[in-house]
Symmetry: C2
Subunit: 590 residues, 2 copies
């Protein structure tokens, strides 16, 4: 697959032959050749965003280029490629993400717009592509394969069948099908996953996998079902088995998961590592600001003992070849001039970054300005008619219930991290027709309210949440992104919900009648603020959360309560769901 079709071959040929001048020469560099592994002095000639020629020391250009950039004797390497990430996780819109990560040397990302697709369907994906188109960062999208993740157990803003997937795959800028998370569906050859994958297969497009813990016959079945990559390995043994199976391993270090040092033992001793590339999956604005993007993963891999040349190849040529991007991932004639100058092949911050031949960053500073010229209006996607007053946050007992108490299925932690939960039944007091937690400081309410206008709502009780008072609400709530509120008192909950409904979504912490809000008005997932400002806002809300909690509650603590793919009990807008059996469990154990 060639990635930019507007190439004027005639002009490039003329430039190579010296009939017209190149626009730019980057000279005085140690050129790292990702094809051969060699490093040698060279000069790189560029025209129309493409590399025309790499001249070795002493070879003169037939005519001098219009401009020359002095590389200061540093290494010249290709721009990095991220083989799997979610832009929404950065909470930045695509054009701001570009500003944030180009200075770190990433010039191409392959994104899964899974979150916005759950909120807004195809229109959401189109927004991401359109907005990405304004950026110097090359942003490809993959068609989200599992919208919703678990049909029938949650209400999302959209549902994709093979028809929608096909429609997405035909959009300019969409290069394949995104992480096929429903590995059970693939191994069982479910009609839904089969027909979705068919759309990719018939177009001969990239099929991205997602197969944590999948091994043995299931791994073979998964590979036979179509997906050709994975970024979810939890151990070196898993990495090794996947590589042996011909599965591309996207080595990941995200803001959430970092087991990379373990994973490299899965291939450290292999003579060839062609099928290893690098991805970030989910990264937060603060991490982007302070530690970088793909370069951060490169750094970790080098620190884990891998050869810097090999790791740079993984982050460039290997990634491009995995996707069949024939003109990305290298600096050679006909390749897009995505280039970094670095002091060492170790993931350190690049001294200069060129995207399609244009200097876009120097010494960590994006050169195109760090703010949007013109913020845009975005439709408010938070539609919660069911939440009209604090009363709507009271957990009412079933009509006709006469007892002073009622047995409630309380979600209690199954593991240390509070992510996986199970239920235990607790007899709780009833006051004024609703469950009363005033005598149970270890419990709180969690309400999940559909935000796409269905009016659906579930209120459940959680133990050991860490929130001590007030409310914490979020419209970022995987994967359906319904409005999720954790609270002790209904008034705080309503204020948090109302605040988010008014601003189009985000994260809001309420303390004693005061709301601290991180507005994410773009689909309730993203901000139009640049990375630095966003990180500042996040810090403020984190501080507010600290004030109402025991210090263990994270910004996105409410974002993972509603995930029916988790093998525990979760709460969605439709009810309590046992993730393992994919069945509903009544809230009241009566």
């Amino acid at each position: 697959m060639r990635t930019r079709r507007a190439k004027d071959r005639s002009r490039l040929i003329q430039a190579a032959m010296g009939e017209i001048p190149c626009q730019l020469t980057i000279g005085n560099v140690q050129y790292f050749n990702v094809f051969t592994g060699e490093i040698y002095p060279a000069e790189v000639d560029i025209l129309d965003g493409y590399v025309v020629r790499v001249r070795e020391a002493g070879e003169q250009a037939p005519v001098p280029a219009e401009k020359r950039y002095d590389g200061g004797g540093n290494y010249l390497i290709p721009g990095f490629i991220d083989t799997h990430m979610h832009v929404e996780s950065t909470m930045m819109i695509p054009e701001n993400l570009s500003r944030a990560i180009l200075p770190w040397g990433t010039t191409t990302i392959c994104t899964d717009p899974h979150e916005i697709a759950n909120v807004m369907g195809i229109d959401g994906v189109k927004f991401m592509l359109e907005n990405a188109g304004r950026s110097a960062l090359r942003q490809y999208a993959l068609a989200p394969s599992c919208v919703p993740a678990v049909p029938g157990k949650e209400s999302t803003g959209a549902a994709f069948t093979a028809k929608e997937i096909g429609e997405l795959l035909d959009l300019e800028g969409v290069v394949g099908i995104a992480e096929v998370m429903d590995f059970v569906g693939v191994c069982q050859d479910s009609p839904r996953m089969h027909s979705i994958i068919d759309e990719g297969e018939k177009r001969d497009m990239y099929l991205q996998g997602h197969a944590p813990y999948v091994s043995g016959k299931e791994l073979a079945a998964y590979r036979l079902g179509g997906p050709k990559s994975d970024h979810e390995s939890v151990s070196a043994a898993e990495v090794r088995e996947k590589l042996r199976c011909g599965i591309h391993v996207n080595l990941r270090a995200s803001s959430l998961i970092d087991n990379l040092t373990d994973l490299v033992d899965g291939f450290r001793d292999h003579p060839w590592q062609d099928f290893v590339s690098i991805c970030t999956d989910d990264v937060h604005a603060k991490d982007l600001l302070t530690t970088g993007h793909i370069n951060r993963v490169v750094r970790k891999a080098v620190q884990a003992g891998l050869d810097g040349r090999a790791v740079v190849k993984m982050a460039t040529l290997n990634a491009a070849r995995e996707y069949h991007f024939d003109d990305l991932g290298a600096v050679a004639p006909g390749y897009v001039a995505d280039i970094q100058l670095v002091e060492a092949l170790d993931g350190s911050r690049p001294l200069a970054v060129f995207a399609a031949g244009r200097l876009v960053a120097e010494n960590g500073v994006y050169l195109g300005g760090d703010r949007l010229d013109r913020p845009f209006d975005f439709p408010n996607t938070v539609n919660v008619p069911q939440l009209r007053s604090a009363d709507d946050f009271r957990m009412r007992v079933p009509e006709g219930w006469q007892g002073d108490t009622i047995p409630v299925r309380v979600l209690v932690p199954q593991d240390m991290g509070r992510v996986l939960r199970t239920t235990k039944t607790v007899e709780l007091p009833v006051r004024d027709g609703a469950v009363d937690l005033s005598g149970h400081p270890e419990l709180l309410f969690v309400a999940v309210a559909n935000r796409y206008g269905t009016g659906g709502k579930t209120i459940a009780v959680y133990e050991s949440f860490g929130l001590e008072r007030g409310a914490l609400a979020s419209t970022v709530s995987h994967d359906s992104h319904n409005l999720t509120v954790a609270y002790r008192d209904p008034d705080s909950a309503f204020l948090a919900a109302e605040t988010l409904a008014r601003c189009g979504g985000g994260v809001c912490a309420v303390n004693d009648g005061q709301a601290a809000c991180l507005p994410l008005p773009v689909a309730g997932l993203m901000s139009q603020e640049p990375c630095g400002k966003l990180a500042e806002q996040i810090g403020q809300v984190q501080a507010a959360i600290g004030d109402i909690s025991d210090g263990t509650v994270k910004l996105l603590e409410t974002a993972i309560l509603s995930l029916p793919v988790l093998p525990g009990t979760v709460v969605t807008d439709m009810g309590l769901v046992d993730g393992l059996s994919q069945t509903f469990v009544p809230v009241f154990d009566i």
Copy 2:
């Protein structure tokens, strides 16, 4: 690109999960994993021509396969892939070629049907594809890019513009554009080559290169013009430069050229050799019989000091990835079950070969029978109305010429190999209105007669040809494949020509009124005989050539006299051509 679209994923998944049995398990092998470089004991399960699973020692299949093949403890490796070859050079039709090379472990070839295209145009390519379709060998075709090689300087049976190339590229089984030999046209961006390459680019198809001696700015221009591979390097330095430039190097050892030992020095010290694959280009029946096919090149590369694992990877996975064949070149779930069992990773003859899961050869013996079930009729493509008698082989002086002698431009060797020639003017006697060579034993005539009905014919005089009497004629005559006859006396020439015209073409040596003929009735290029019989026939004609020559004349000596791409003087049906300037030179220097 997936190579076989009829795959029933559901059945393969079911087999992996143990819901249905596989058809075959190959067990008791040392499995060579081309992804990781590891070698370990494993069993390979196969269904419907695909690998379902590779089980490591000790892992049981969920249900036993219907059959089991004992690998005898040998290495199990993927079938070899030839990245560039001309089937016509073997003089075998595709289905017989399959019989000849499958026993050597080659299971896929990427062919350039350049010769038959020059003779018969698109119909010729279609014949090759159709006939290849009857074979167990996977035979892809590339659209010949330079038909004719030099427009206006020779008459061929067909001429391909962008329109015909586009038509070919849309045929099932055509995977790209074949070796773009007109590198001058590419570097100068000629409209013809530009429009032909456009057809490949717009379909995102493979563009095969051919760029001997091309270097520096021309190499960059050539790469920018589209072609992404080369198999014509003459030195290690050339290989190194091409690899540095991102060009796939197809390491070649053909029956004509074998400089492989030199070439490997171009990348021996590179940590990665992902862009090196292997090809045979032109191989003769006798070489195929006795020394093999791709395995022969593998053997040479190993003898040149390369690691056997690396070379096997070049001949399998590297080749597949160069072509974007996503399901060839490895033995892993979802890959076509093209498999060899070998005693060592050194190019030795495989003990067993499986093509798409079917056992097709054991110990060098093809298991499907070595002959065509039913030879077919093929239209006679030799149409030479201009050759009605021996008189037509007399070299007449221009009408009105009065002298007893005439100055003739004689083609004399420019180099030791007699291939490149230049001209010198020699005053030759005239008798009965024609040039008389009876007093010049060092000279002979060469006639090139158009065989596509135009009636065109050129007679020239050669020095130092090596033929002492009689005639040697051939319809194999690159690239236009006109009837080419070298002779001392017109009677022998006419007998040779007449013999070939009658049998549909081939190679014919005439000695004292006796014709020894190698019939190649399929387009005047190929035989329907199997490899062994063909090699025997070739041997007989070679012996006959020995009888009329000084011992230096090869079977295809007359096949390279008419190649206007050579940088010397050649003779075509239209006249003498100076290859360097691409201009006609009159035969008589008057």
